[in-house]
Amino acid sequence: MRAASDVGGTFTDLVYYSIDESTGQSGEVKTAKADTTPPNFEQGVMNAIEKVGLSPRDLDFFAHGSTVVINALTERKGVKTALITTRGFRDVLEIARGNRPDLFNFNFRKPAAFVPRYLRAELNERVAFNGETQQEVDLAPLAELLEYFKSEGVEAIAISFLHAYIQPANEQRVKARINELWPQVSVLASHEISREWREYERTNTTVLSAYVHPIAKKYIESLEEKLARGGFDDKPYMMQSNGGISTVEAAKANPITMVESGPASGIFAAAYLGETIEEKNLIVLDIGGTTAKCTLIEDAEVKVTTEYYIEKDTKNPGYPIQTPVSEIVEIGNGGGSIAWVDQGRKLHVGPQSAGAMPGPAAYGKGGTKPTTTDANLVLGRIDPASFVGGEVEPDWNAVDTAFAPLMEELELSKEAVARGIVRIANANMTNALRLVSTNKGYDPRDFALMAFGGGGAMHAVALAEELKVPRVIVPVNSSVFSAWGMLLTDLRRDYLQTRPGLLSNEHTEAISAEFSRLRAEAEADYRTDGVDMTSAELAYEYFADMRYTGQEHTVKVSVPMENDQVRLGDAIEQFHNAHEKRFTYRLDAGVEIVNFHLVAKVLVPKPALAKKPFTGARLEDCVLHTREVDFDQHGIHNAVIYDGLKLEPDMALFGPAVIQEPSVTLVVSPGHRVTLDDYGNYHVELNVRQIPQG
């Protein structure tokens, strides 16, 4: 039995399946939900396992993703953390980058540093930009400093020295001494967290990782213990933000790698599925209750970046986290997003959300404001008879009450307001999708849109029309896609190293050598983690962040290698092409590598995806009923409503239609055709026939 659990804000999802010995395929994918149980999140995981009558001893493989790190950060529930840095630079953490995104707010305050000034200490030491140690660190004041930290109740220490990304010896000396003097305290040094330059970003990342370290460590250990007590013989794997899983040891050493694990697994699952069904170029959209997240996958490759922030928006500079995270654009637009009108009489949707409690007005749990979900209900897109999987009878009075103020302010009917809400929500999501596609030089016509999450199927077709994406794919298990995705990932470690240098013939050896060094480091790290390197199947991917000489911003390109040697000419050409695609021009200038980026994967054997049973049923037998559905610009139509669970591969149907599953509603406007592939994924091909009369 293979299982994965994804701890969300409200629910803990469990996804599991057994493997059919005869075919090697995975069996039917089953799911379970339990309440999330803060602060002992692992309890919710155990509850979900027990709820479906399983025991940890039934499991052969268990992957786990959790919001424990991001929650500890955003709720400021980490431990008291101290910082040790280079003499003269303790205020770097507070000065940050000095920027004020809220331009015209002259009463702006930047977000507070995670370490107050009295816990930011300095030691005499210095490394020059070229890696030369000018001054070995003076450890003499350390004993007294640690006594001071102890007396202040410090539980974690971050060490961050200038240029440690290239010469970490001074950090290593300090860490070793702290381990001797105070073995119980959590100590993280910046070179263990990031090997990239930019001292504020690296320092802040180290501080944040230290801040959550004791909590994440305790959490992972409790989970390990509970699973072991239940008879699980192996170790669980932890989902990371880079889209791979890691051993528990690696996750405990640098917990910040788990910061965005939920969205990452969904995106990597999309890439994996895309490769399986030969859709390697995807725009991916995950619509949840509060937010929508999107990204772009090119040639089955997910883009991983270390320019990631938490709490950043148009008014707040946020906090940078220099750890590999799959590139995501997230906006405050989900099913629960609230519609409102400002004093200039402009309709907005989000970013405020009704969340799970009180939820949309139609839930009848006290929600007084109209949400996107309410609007979809008003327009007949959501089936009132199977609202929230048939568990809730829509509270139409509450919906009417919620819509009334907007109808009055805009002087429009309820249906017109609902159409407006859906259209504005779609426009917001279109703008986000544009940020990851057209704004980066990609033509949406070369992509398919893969949509999942609770609201993905509802909006996907309309968004594809807007962006001129020719096809939409709604995958099976789309409402638990993130948890399911964890079962498709491999062990993954990303090694980034800033080492600026020209891409030229005389540097070819040095470039190849740097990648070799990183490979050796990766193997050593996996060995330290307890991965059996005799049987492990290792796979490497080579990237580099490159730029033209004189430029600062870099483009990540895949580096072609042959027999461990870099193919220099091809690498340069890759960069020119990538730069031109991204920035519209190429320069006749030297090309530099700034960061080396090695991805080292230990491949996890995975069963083939389960195929949807084929019985030869007739399409007519899958029809639930017909009802009037408002397709906005396409008009109001009497649409055929299908039971998605009964649909089979090889079937084809046309819009206007709605396909319903207990937690999926796929809205297909007129003119589009839906087919199912062997696995049961829906493929919507846009504009294949004339729109019939409604």
Binding site: R87, G88, F89, R90, D91, V92, E94, I95, R97, G98, N99, R100, P101, D102, L103, F104, N105, F106, N107, F108, R109, K110, P116, R117, F129, N130, L162, H163, Y165, W197, R198, E199, E201, Q343, G344, R345, K346, L347, L410, L412, R419, G420, R423, I424, A427, N428, N431, R434, N439, P500, Y548, G550, Q551, E552, H553, F583, T584, Y585, L587, A589
Partner: protein, 555 residues
Amino acid sequence: MINDVFTTEIIKDSIVALGDEMFEAMVRTSMSPIIYETTDFAVGATDAAGNLLAQGNGVTAFLATLDTAVQSLLTHYDIDSIYPGDVFITNSPYEGGGTHLSDVVILVPVFHNDLLIAWTVNKAHWTEVGGAQPGSVSTVATEIYQEGLHFRFLKLYEKGQPNASLIDLIRTNVRLPDSTIGDMHAGVAAANVGAKRIGEIVDKYGCESVLFAMDDLLDYGERMTQAELQKLPTGVYESEDIVEDDGLGNGPFKIRVKVTITDDKMIADYTGTDPQVPGPINCSYTGLVTGARCLFKAVTNTDIPANGGCFRALEVICPDGTLVSAQSPAPVSLYYEPLIAAIDVMWKALAPILPDRLPAGHQRSVGATFVSGVHPQTGELFVMGEPLVGGWGAAEGLDGDSGQFCCANGETFNIPIELFESRYGLQVNQYAFHNEDGGAGEFRGGKGVVLDYQVTAEEAFLTYAASRTVSKPWGMNGGQEGSNNYAQILRHDGSTERYHMCTTVRAQKGEVIRLTTGTGGGFGDPAKRPREQVAMDIKNGYVTAEQARKYYHHE
């Protein structure tokens, strides 16, 4: 034509999003750190007549420079001589779009068929535009001719063809031609990204709908602004302040404002400000309008993206030929110092009636610092230019922010030390808050910063200009005033020189260039600050024990 209300909203949002799209293009394509790190630029779009539709975040100090550039351009060219594929360039200080010569405006007309429907515009600080000094900044210029190349609304491209002679002229007359030409390409690329996107919006919704939405967007800006303006108490509010020095030893100079708030208007009248001065601290009327708009926006609606409609209720009055309405051939390199003073004096006039919107005085200076030399490893010329962070004022209920760029900046980033040291022949010895007196109050002023550059090149040359070098950021309600901005060179012989304005002062290898920025003004009587908070300030090192005794009566 689709003219239902929601389609119009969606078109408007798409137009506003143009600002972000062009901003991104500019950051990513630029070759000079002053653009991509300090984001000393603005991007935007106007309608055909030059009404601002959208502007991308960069710095506040360019708020009136995109729309007025288009408006002035239209006085230079007949509409019949503007063609699809044209790209215009201007950096003329005394006309629309003008600041100083280093800030170059690129303008691209957007056509639908043969109809001019919009402009995409950007203005960016180029690393080099020639002139007497490296970096094209001087504290000693006496005429504009010494400050660099001057483009008055020229065609950089006509009908898609580059003006090769002009580009060659630029290349020949600047010190870092690759960087300068790179800046030019970035500007053209960003404007083209915007123009292309407008074309797509027109293709989708139709020209008429888009033109309708543009007008509607401006009206929306006006409505949102009026709603806030109505909340301000009507009356007449006056203030004055000084700019210390013009770089040639003249000064101080007075800046005056009388702000009148009526039921539906704000009038900022700078009559009474001193005449333009011999040194390069003159600001043109465009700069003044920018300054007044910044403060106007800060006290009305700070949330919605700026557009021309937001400023319909603002009137800016100033006779020609003052320090903030300078005429040719006044030198203007350091125009931003009087511009900031113009913002600050209006701020000081209105702060007493808006204590929730406007804190006490801040460092009030860009503190622009330039260091040039020859890199010891590469042997190439380097020119480092950057603004400095300092302390902001305290407000009712809030201590001031420490280490933030001044009000004329915005989405401006300091240069990471680790990048800085690899790029320039300088090593940074400290980047820290200092403990000079200033900013005491029930709410403390934010801390200023001290930044030490040790010269690792054989020699380096410092150009520096600031204000609030003698006067100090103002306190409020009994709060203490802040502290000064200044530069120093710590010599090998142990001596120290202090500078407020200087051009290419030589420092030798091993000597230290020290830059100090002001602490912000305090708010309220320091004696009212709770004892435990003062104790915490001492523990954090924000206040010394001696300062606590002296200003907070804390033993």
